[in-house]
């Protein structure tokens, strides 16, 4: 019975959390800028509206246009079921670290292809930047996750992220560093502020929006939903790291874990909007420097894992 309840809860999180988190980011940002801002659920309304609209397709488009959308959304939903981004998500048998990373890469592969598809320079430069950023970010993500996996001696992430009783307090720095590395990397991966500005459409250095430029109607709705889902999954994953650090210091009950793992996603959303309010987008050539912070955090986490792992 409780498993069914947990599945239902996971499923509703998967459906509503993406829009809500995007809504929180936008609303907080608006309030910080003394604006009223759009309603909290605007993203969901937009998605529903787009699903009902008809679409325009470039005359140069090939079958990649559709293949990208369906592969993107089906992989992302699968990933949402595989990745342990919520502490209460029932475990599955395939949540292997390297599988997850390469499923993310598969999404990116087709996204880049589809933005090269219509032959527009806008989309293509977005694609080129996305490829560059992913080259830099992928090692950071994989190393951060390897660090925590190494300390658990398994690459099965649902075992790595299982909240076990009496974890030693000495593990807290590892989880903190890994969480910081993941969070900084996911800011880049999700094309958020210091690297890319998600709210502009006329910037010459935009990444995510440029890649979506030629999509419209239901196609765009699905892609937008998928990227919002990717945001909560990645935030959830780094949030879980922070929760584990908290669990090392102050063990909490697993019932509290449900509440905490949702609220930490919201907290990270608020942090994102704070970052986006106080900082400006970096010049494109300086983006690698920001990625380096994430990579450094991951490397430090790995170092901690290696030092504690070898001595124990």
């Amino acid at each position: 019975m409780s498993t069914i309840l947990l599945w239902l809860l996971t499923f509703s999180c998967l459906l509503f959390l993406p829009s809500l988190t995007i809504g929180i980011i936008r609303k907080t940002k608006a309030r910080l800028q003394n604006r009223v801002g759009a309603p909290l659920w605007q993203h969901l309304f937009d998605t529903i509206k787009l699903l009902r609209k008809s679409e325009t397709v470039s005359e140069n488009s090939s079958w990649i246009l559709r293949v990208n959308t369906v592969i993107n959304i089906s992989i992302m939903i699968t990933l949402a079921f595989l990745t342990p981004w919520l502490s209460f998500k029932p475990a599955t048998s395939a949540d292997d670290l390297f599988l997850l990373i390469y499923l993310f890469a598969a999404i990116r592969f087709f996204a880049i292809l589809s933005s090269l598809d219509p032959g527009s320079a806008f989309g293509a430069f977005g694609a080129s930047r996305e490829a560059t950023l992913s080259v830099l970010v992928e090692p950071a993500i994989i190393l951060a996750l390897s660090a925590v996996a190494l300390s658990a001696h398994t690459s099965n992430l649902s075992l790595v992220f299982a909240l076990t009783a009496n974890t030693p307090i000495s593990q807290a720095p590892l989880w903190l560093l890994a969480g910081a590395g993941l969070f900084l990397s996911s800011l880049v991966e999700l094309s958020r502020m210091p690297v890319d500005d998600p709210t502009t459409h006329l910037e010459l250095t935009m990444v995510h929006e440029a890649m979506m430029l030629e999509n419209s109607g239901p196609n765009l709705a699905l892609l937008e939903f998928s990227s919002a889902l990717r945001l909560v999954v990645l935030y959830g994953l780094s949030g879980q790291c922070f929760l584990h650090a908290l669990h090392c210091i102050w063990p909490f009950a697993s019932a509290a874990g449900i509440l905490l793992s949702i609220s930490i996603i919201f907290a990270l959303a608020v942090v994102t909007s704070l970052i986006e309010t106080v900082s400006v987008r970096l010049k494109w050539t300086r983006a690698p420097e920001f990625v380096a912070y994430g990579l450094t955090m991951s490397l430090l986490a790995l170092l901690v894992a290696l030092v504690t792992g070898v001595s124990s």
């Binding site: 699903l51 990649i64 559709r66 959308t69 089906s74 390297f98 592969f109 032959g119 430069f125 239901p218």
Partner: protein, 657 residues
């Protein structure tokens, strides 16, 4: 056992008769005729491998065939069968591909020579795999090298092909010299030419092992010996490039696996060295592949990356053996063997795709391609499948072998007590992730610039789909990539007896624990459902077709698209120190402020290794050569003096020992 020998005999007879017929009737018989012989030979070879999977037989040639000091000795065991099967499969597809492809080369190739060399090449590759002693190996290794050099120069009217053949020949000479040195040393110390009696990479055999390793690495295209590879592979006709990249370099890796992994304990230094070199190869190969704009050259550089990944697997296995970590060794060997097969399949698939484009558009230069999706949809589908597989995207076959490498590295980091091993394996995970990201960038560039967007030249506009037989060859390989990916756990467990034989441990059960088949079904099923219900034909309003958004400035021209160079530019800029990458722009009429006459921008890339290491080395050799010519003064008295000095020196040496 008997069927196996009969099949092998049939394959060899077909190969040799192909050679003979090519010499006599090369000009008169059609390409289809020779392709059918090659096809039947490859089928025989493939079934030899299948029937040879469970037998281990040794066959010695009777007396008239003898190599002076050792007999022709052949051994077919499971490891050889695996590589024979790969050779059979790739040759099979190459034979189907050939007739359609060779049509556009009709004016330029000497078909007598081409088919003769091709049959020799394939036959000698099969015999290298089967060789059980050093002399058999070396003889057929040489035949393989020379016939492939002839094939590289097949299109001999182009000076680029001639130059590539020369570079390739130079590399093969060095490889053979190193191999011969190592083999002679081993013979001197063990008194045997049989591979089964040799123990490489032990403390007593460091130097000859290094010599043999260098010889094999040159052929395999491992960094820093890879420089011949991006010249030779693109110059050859496509079926040959597919065989060279797909199989020939794997045979060198096969020799490394056979000689180093199946003889018990080795020095840990060899494992560490191979691991490091494999990492550098993988990174170097993909980085240079990324900045190429000749499609076949890009693929050739990418072979260096994949060879690097296989070498990482071998290094992992060696290190695991030396540290008594059978789980790591097992993962390493399985990963290396699996990736050999996978790379053979998807790299030949990609070469066929590039060949189909070449045959249809008469250019491989990415800056002249574009928009082929409309004209060549099936080729594109196969090329995308191959690219996804080579980028290790799940659930295709490339992912399975790369996952094994990752697992091997991860297990090593978990289990080892040496900080060096743990640190190195963690670094390797990071570098492999970087390489994975670069591979995605590289292949999205290749697909995006050649197939997507709008045609950049008249040739690309006039393209038409490749001949049906060429499509069949690609489709077979693409389907194999998908099937092997989804059934990877089963295939990996087929390889467990091999890894068990090498590690001396009992079979460790199923290595790939991922449910890849269910994953493939869920992903494709989900994608189909979403297409049907959200995007596809069930919706009432069909999409409106319009021009690509052009900011309201009027029709975009094909030249306003991103080029291969500009796509790769941001990454190339980051790795500037390795690539020696710089952009040069030249503006004429700059004094007219906003209205210059001409702006020319170009990106220049020189290889660090070639310009800083190999060119000075070659220059030094040439200088030395010039100095040595002074000995040859043309005076008979001087030559007599040399002979006298030599005779005296020999006498003294003889007396001293």
């Amino acid at each position: 056992m008997n069927t196996c020998i009969d099949l092998l005999r049939a394959a060899l007879v077909l190969g040799l008769s192909g050679c003979g017929l090519a010499v006599v009737y090369g000009h008169r018989f059609s390409q289809t005729f020779f392709s059918v012989i090659l096809l039947s030979g490859s089928v025989a070879l493939f079934f030899t491998a299948l029937s040879g999977w469970n037998v281990d037989f040794i066959w010695q040639a009777s007396l008239p065939i003898y190599f002076g000091v050792a007999p022709l000795l052949i051994r077919l065991d499971r490891l050889a069968a695996l590589f024979l099967g790969l050779l059979g499969a790739v040759t099979f597809c190459a034979a189907i591909f050939s007739p359609g492809y060779l049509k556009h080369l009709e004016q330029r190739l000497n078909f007598s020579l081409y088919w003769f060399s091709l049959f020799t090449f394939v036959t000698s590759m099969a015999l290298v795999v089967l060789a059980a002693n050093a002399l058999t190996f070396l003889v057929f290794w040489e035949t393989m090298s020379l016939s492939s050099a002839a094939l590289v120069a097949a299109d001999h009217t182009s000076s680029a092909a001639r130059r590539s053949a020369l570079i390739y020949l130079g590399a093969t000479r060095l490889a053979t010299a190193a191999l011969a040195g190592g083999f002679l040393w081993f013979h001197a110390h063990t008194g045997s030419w049989n591979f089964a009696d040799w123990h490489l990479a032990t403390a007593a055999t460091v130097i000859p092992s290094i010599l043999i390793l260098i010889g094999l690495s040159i052929k395999a295209g491992v960094w820093p010996f890879h420089i011949w590879l991006p010249y030779a592979h693109p110059s050859a006709p496509t079926p040959v490039s597919a065989l060279m990249s797909g199989v020939m370099i794997k045979i060198a890796l096969y020799a490394i696996i056979r000689l180093f992994l199946f003889h018990g304990e080795t020095l840990p230094a060899f494992g560490i060295t191979l691991l490091t070199i494999g990492l550098i190869s993988a990174f170097w190969g993909v980085l240079f592949a990324l900045v190429q704009h000749d499609l076949k050259r890009l693929l050739a550089y990418h072979s260096v990356e994949n060879v690097g990944i296989i070498v990482i697997g071998i290094g992992l296995a060696l290190y695991g053996q030396s540290q008594h970590l059978p789980a790591v060794a097992c993962l390493g060997i399985t990963a290396a063997l699996f990736h050999c097969v996978n790379h053979g399949l998807f790299k030949s698939l990609l070469f066929f795709g590039a060949g189909a484009i070449d045959a249809s558009a008469h250019t491989r230069d990415l800056s002249h391609l574009g928009g082929l999706a409309k004209a060549m949809p099936v080729t594109m589908l196969c090329f995308v499948t191959g690219s996804a597989a080579i980028c290790a995207l799940p659930p295709l076959n490339g992912f399975a072998s790369k996952w094994l490498i990752y697992q091997g590295l991860f297990t090593l980091a978990c289990q080892t007590h040496s900080r060096l091993g743990a640190g190195l394996s963690c670094a390797a995970v990071g570098v492999l992730a970087l390489v994975g990201g670069l591979a995605v960038a590289c292949f999205t560039k290749a697909i995006g610039v050649s197939f997507l967007g709008r045609p950049r030249s008249h040739e690309a506009e006039q393209c038409s789909e490749a001949a049906p037989a060429m499509l069949v060859a690609q489709a077979i390989l693409a389907a194999t990539c998908v099937v092997l990916g989804a059934l990877a756990p089963a295939f990996a467990s087929l390889l467990t007896p091999l890894s068990a034989a090498a590690t001396g441990s009992l079979a460790t059960g199923n290595l790939i624990t991922l449910p890849l088949l269910p994953l493939a079904i869920i992903l494709s099923g989900g994608a189909c459902l979403i297409y049907l219900f959200v995007l596809g034909p069930l919706r009432q309003t069909p999409p409106r077709v319009c021009r690509t958004w052009e900011c309201g400035f009027g029709q975009l021209s094909p030249r306003m698209q991103v080029t291969a160079t500009s796509f790769a530019h941001p990454i190339a800029r980051i790795f500037k120190p390795v690539l020696l990458y710089k952009t040069v722009s030249e503006i004429s009429g700059a004094h007219q402020r906003h209205f210059p006459e001409r702006i020319k921008a170009d990106a220049v890339m020189t290889s660090l290794l070639e310009s800083k290491v190999y060119l000075p080395l070659i220059a030094a050799v040439r200088r030395l050569g010039r100095q040595t010519t002074r000995l040859q003064a043309g005076s008979i008295h001087l030559y007599l003096l040399y002979m006298l000095i030599a005779a005296v020196a020999l006498l003294i040496i003889g007396a001293a020992t």
